[in-house]
Symmetry: C2
Subunit: 194 residues, 2 copies
DNA sequence: CCCCCCTCTTAATATAGTTTAAGATAATTT
DNA sequence: AAATTATCTTAAACTATATTAAGAGGGGGG
């Protein structure tokens, strides 16, 4: 039952009957995305969202100068898509690819909307996780407006102790919004102080 | 019927029966917030959210050096609160105050949760507007990571043509994440080029 | 096994944005 | 209307971060 992890995730926030579980399972599609392969390319329409069972995806944009900026890491139990495209049906501006071999459950917007209309507990689930995603994006935005690169790096270490030693540094730099060279410099100072 | 504007806003996205409208109206409280008065102070618990009928509120944080950073302007038809505190019940980190005399409808988290359980169309409404808020926060974050202050200013002019001539510039500077002095410099260059 | 590519580091130089300070305008209060 | 306070502008000096360049170390593919 590959959908088990997602069903548990939903049942942490609400209740589901056996029949409802079945309906949800029926629309999910399990998929493997190998390292460096893409779930979504910019300019495509994001018709689906992905729930990560194992591995890690990331979403990022590429600016007019060719630099990548990471919006989100999606390890186990996280959803990821280009939300803008997913809800509007317009071209995505994000790319989503795999940092390591990754197993996901695929849910289309169409199925999501249809099921939310039938299963009000599912609509509740998506409202609540969207609220949480909003909060964490807001906090990240405020951090970017009010703290230095160094403070953001230290915060990242605290928030994602699991990722700090597995991810290449250039990805961390891209996430906290600085160049890899500058991150290296910060880390250098950091080490020398201890 | 002070709730009319909010009910219209909801009915743009979904359908409500007359009875459901009544239930919603019953829990809303109309309130006037005068210029410079606060709806919420940091360190309080945000037990309510506000829907703006007329006027304009803003939410902002104060960093450790005493500088303000504006997260959101809330003109007519926008919701505002400290979402982090609202959903977690923990201390807020945002302040919400009025930029001009403002009329709002107040909805408590308790009433929201209770009504969403009874009126699935309302849960749908909140899911959809939360998704939209998430998208716009994500895009603002990506803009902050990938564009210059000047590009952000130009984008702000395009996105909020209504606010650009009513808001004091120091507020715009705070929103786009720069000092008022630097915004003034950008505007100076801008004018000289035309 | 070696080569090549990719990542990380270091350092010099360049730039976007801040800080400080002062004067000029505009808006409130008295 | 005067007095006071807040906002806007300008400019010089400063700082955080970017850019460029070059070299060192590692891991995967042929």
């Amino acid at each position: 039952m590959p959908a088990g992890k997602l069903l548990s995730h939903i049942k942490n926030l609400t209740l589901l009957s056996a029949d409802e579980e079945k309906q949800i399972e029926d629309v999910l599609e399990k998929k493997t995305i190998r390292k460096r392969q893409f779930l979504l390319h910019e300019h495509q329409i994001a018709k689906v969202a992905a729930f990560v069972i194992s591995g890690c995806l990331r979403s990022y944009s590429i600016d007019r100068n060719g630099f990548e900026h990471i919006l989100q890491f999606a390890p186990e139990n996280w959803w990821v898509t280009d939300m803008y495209s997913f809800i509007s049906g317009k071209e995505s501006y994000l790319n989503v690819d795999a940092l390591v071999d990754t197993e996901v459950l695929i849910l289309s917007r169409e199925d999501q909307q249809h099921l939310c209309g039938k299963i009000s507990q599912l609509e509740h689930y998506f409202r609540v996780i969207t609220e949480k995603a909003l909060v964490s994006t807001q906090q990240r935005l405020m951090d970017n407006l009010s703290t230095t690169a160094r403070q953001r790096y230290e915060k990242f270490c605290g928030t994602y102790p699991g990722l700090i030693n597995t991810l290449p540094q250039k990805l961390i730099a891209s996430y906290i919004g600085i160049t890899p060279e500058f991150l290296s410099k910060i880390r250098g100072e950091f080490l020398r102080e201890n």
